[in-house]
Symmetry: C2
Subunit: 309 residues, 2 copies
Amino acid sequence: MRALVLGSAAGGGFPQWNCGCPNCDGVRRGDPRLLARTQDSVAIAPASTGEPGGWTLLNASPDIAAQIQANSALHPRARRDSPIRSIVLTNGDLDHTLGLFSLRESWPLVLYATDAVRQGLEERNAVFRTLRRFPTQVTWKRLELGRPTPLEGEGGAPTGLTVEARPLPGKPPVHLVGVTPPSPEDNVGLWIRDPARGKLVVYATAVSRVDGLQDSFDGADALLLDGTFWSSDELVALGLSRARAEDMAHAPIGGDGGTLAALARVRAKRKIYTHINNSNPILLAGSPEERAVLDAGWEIAHDKMEISV
Amino acid sequence: MRALVLGSAAGGGFPQWNCGCPNCDGVRRGDPRLLARTQDSVAIAPASTGEPGGWTLLNASPDIAAQIQANSALHPRARRDSPIRSIVLTNGDLDHTLGLFSLRESWPLVLYATDAVRQGLEERNAVFRTLRRFPTQVTWKRLELGRPTPLEGEGGAPTGLTVEARPLPGKPPVHLVGVTPPSPEDNVGLWIRDPARGKLVVYATAVSRVDGLQDSFDGADALLLDGTFWSSDELVALGLSRARAEDMAHAPIGGDGGTLAALARVRAKRKIYTHINNSNPILLAGSPEERAVLDAGWEIAHDKMEISV
């Protein structure tokens, strides 16, 4: 299986438009220790896919047009074409769904989502009608929790990959709080398998607690995990917000209760933090926090990172 | 008055994600005759504004984060800050509004729009609640057709500029066709004035016919006009679509009925085509169509073009 990290930043990207924190200031100034990042999304293809081939996106970020442009494997091969066949949504957050509306130029797409995510998007927003210009423009495939679903490739042919959504502790999107009742379908992680080759990639980029999850991460060839914040009070300490990491449903990396400590013994071949907020000190090469992550055997995702398992 | 062209492409941008036309192929290959462009948006500030100062955006394109990043005048000057004070919307098209949802990180914005555009956006989309996180996050100011409205600057102080919306022949956004009755408020041009200095910028980037408009363009210090298509059958001839320019409510530039001929005698100091579709041959430096435009005294907008009037 191949995975291309299209974007490795949390919502808002890095730098974030209205943020003057030291990291954002530094990356704007061109500090070589800091690398700009677009918002979280990953493209997946089976190992057998030629170049270019049929790709599945995990989430559709607001930066999707620039992400496609930056990755030649996703460029069209004909006058009207895209090697992007389907998109899997892990929740209804705008940083994971807004990009759908940038893929509206008459290209058929298969969207995989839980019923809760589909309803929040399709049934409550007139803008979704832009993806209904012709009957086959969007085909929804329901993600049932805990049940592997085959991923379609080009022309509806099987890719050989399956995706299983599992509920993760999180929260509904800000714009649906108080509108729809919370559901375990609001926020899922993805277990993506190539059964024929015995490969597993786990994508869990929004998770508020990891206690009890270690067993389900064991055996992954690559684990892409929520690396939004280093510490609970990161935004507060920088004067950026009054919200703590947990208020925003992201388990911090560092500290006694952090994911680095909690998952120290997880048996995954590659462990990669992604969905990294602009405020996170692991973005600064050479920082003690970056060192702690790397010394513990984790990697830090960057845009255009290629993962082959 | 100062105007920064943030994006000069039509919806989809240049290159467009799923387009393999000669222009898109060429710009991906790095052909030096072709320049990549993001989607239509302009930033306006009064001449007296220091650097950085208070800016008004005309439309909010899906590429807004990259556009802000590319223009240092729009960078934050403090830990949480933006010199962007307000946004004027000319219609509800997604290539003009989707960027609003990328400005959701707790910064107060003043949005100027007609009632029809506001309603289509605010009342029919749950996602708009992401801009209602605190009571002052979005303040709407109603654009009444034909009536100049003062543009607010930082802290609500007047910028000294006014904006007047005038109805332009066009159409409602694709996602509202059949949902709301057509209205003259669906699609407007903007007449932006600095009355103290006697300056006028006209921004009319979606217009299906220009007959009868010449008088209202006369006297502009800069006219930014719809340059989507060179010819009516451009998309058909390239095999990209069955739609003609007029079906998409954009008057073509070339030919007997085109805007270049129709507006040959318009008295504007600078005449600039923008909102240029990826299929348009004027994008190719040295093409006969580019020469015809330049020889007629028009300019072709590019991203980061600066206009001082």
